[in-house]
């Protein structure tokens, strides 16, 4: 068997179901958004749903991108710090590794409930700090979506730590020790050994975080506000409308979300390809 053939055979079992499911999901959503598979009435090709949704799409897109970017930057920074602490050559913090592992299995729905209990006007934090609800900043449901970003950053920082830590654990210590033996200082070891080793994993995990945040609904719905709304919240609101004729608009918003996320994935892959360890 040629190596090429072998590689193809290795990839196919994953590729076939993925392509089938994603393809079917996208095609169904596009058909619905174009009025070809309505729940009521006759199928008819039209752009009405896209036109109707267009007004709010711009605001929703900007908000979604903003939330995803803020969450990703925070999650990447904290996650990297966690991974470094948990895999450090000297004084490795087992505790932080364990705590990060504790956070990963928390479903986002639960994380959102927890953040609400913590950050709301009358939440635990406000009570502990003795701040009255009026004086407490609007973290939950406020104009800056702080609680939403905090939840994503909290959960995803643990995910980033898991992915980056996995790579660093297997490689960094030996390289770091070699570099230390050769006389490299702490900063130099970080800059020239750890960071290049971690970069591909960090970039990959960040891209995953960004795209996940872009398409996720529960957290923004529970900790956000009714206007403006991010794309997924808008889509779910339209999909749940009492008027079934609005559903194609929900599909249009979902397709927009997916296309946006796909663009991010492609950009991330291009950027990652330039990094050394990522071919």
């Amino acid at each position: 068997m040629t190596p090429r053939r072998r590689a193809v055979l290795l990839v196919l079992p994953a590729l076939v179901p993925v392509a089938a499911v994603v393809g079917a999901a996208l095609v169904s959503a596009v058909l619905l958004s174009l009025g070809l598979t309505p729940l009521v009435g006759r199928p008819e090709l039209s752009l009405d749903a896209w036109r109707a949704a267009a007004g709010d799409l711009g605001t929703a897109t900007r908000l979604s991108l903003g939330i995803a970017a803020a969450s990703t930057v925070l999650a990447a920074a904290v996650g990297l710090a966690l991974a470094l602490a948990a895999t450090a050559a000297v004084r490795r913090s087992r505790l932080l590794g364990a705590l990060a592992a504790l956070t990963i299995p928390v479903p986002h729905l639960v994380g959102a409930a927890a953040m609400g209990l913590l950050l709301a006007d009358t939440g635990v934090l406000a009570r502990w700090l003795g701040v009255s609800p009026d004086a407490w900043p609007s973290l939950v449901g406020g104009p800056w979506w702080v609680a939403v970003v905090a939840e994503y950053a909290w959960k995803e920082s643990a995910f980033v730590a898991l992915v980056v830590g996995g790579v660093l654990a297997s490689r960094a210590r030996s390289y770091g020790e070699t570099a230390a033996l050769l006389g490299a200082g702490r900063w130099a070891r970080f800059r020239f050994v750890t960071l290049p080793l971690a970069a591909p994993a960090l970039g990959g995990a960040s891209a995953v975080t960004f795209v996940y945040t872009l398409g996720s609904y529960e957290v923004a719905a529970l900790l956000g506000r009714p206007y403006p709304e991010p794309l997924p919240v808008m889509a779910v609101r339209l999909a749940g409308s009492i008027d079934l004729a609005v559903r194609p608009q929900a599909a249009a918003v979902a397709v927009t979300t997916a296309v946006l996320a796909l663009a991010v994935v492609l950009l991330a892959l291009r950027a990652l390809r330039r990094l050394s360890a990522w071919h």
């Binding site: 994953a14 179901p17 299995p105 398409g215 599909a251 994935v265 892959l269």
Partner: protein, 254 residues
Amino acid sequence: MALGTRLGRAALAVWLLLPLVPLVLWAAADRWTAPAVLPQAWGTAGLRDAVDSGAGTASLRSTVLGLVVAALATPLGAMAGRALAGSGVPAGGAVLAALLSPLVLPPFAVALGLDVLLLRLRVPASVGVVLLLTVAALPYTTVLMRTAYAAHDPGFEEEARTLGATARRAVLAVQLPMLAPALAGAAFLAFLVGWSDYVVTLLVGGGQLVTLPLLVASAASSVGNEAQVAVLSLGSVLPPLALLVAVGLLGRRR
């Protein structure tokens, strides 16, 4: 250890733990109204309500679902990750992008036609759920295993081969143990995809699979259930954690 490092690590620990604190307190609270700093009445009402709502069987179902998804998505992701870490796959970049594409599908998009298609094709509900969740887990397992294989030094296997080991033996005795941490991480993430899903389990599963997230979501949709939600939530963190510890121990022993 430098003070800065110590402070930094303490801050990281607070970052990770703080959001869980209200949950832990609520789980043991029978009554906790604002502006009380701590619950006014401690008790097990939350636990009782959680058990009454069927948390026991639900977590069993969640566990099975998570394990099945992990059992499928981990090997598939490992195989794909291995192939993509090399240069043998034609149009490797496009294939990787395709394997990451489930990430771009918002979960609720399932309700916009895909569920109808599965029903039309008469795919049994449980098969549909497992298929969709495995696909949703594949980006995670693929990325993780691809990164691990890319960082993996094939020199050790070559050495084993030179020493007379068969290809299969080199994979089993050398490659897999070295990749055990990555495999465990991939399996864990795949498990969580099945363990924490709501939309697919409910809409494609047709309500036949009442898992823990379904209980959490419905209990969390109304006030007054905080203690129950907290117990259910902590209950949905503990089993994966136990699994993680078990996998970690297993990995270390090998």
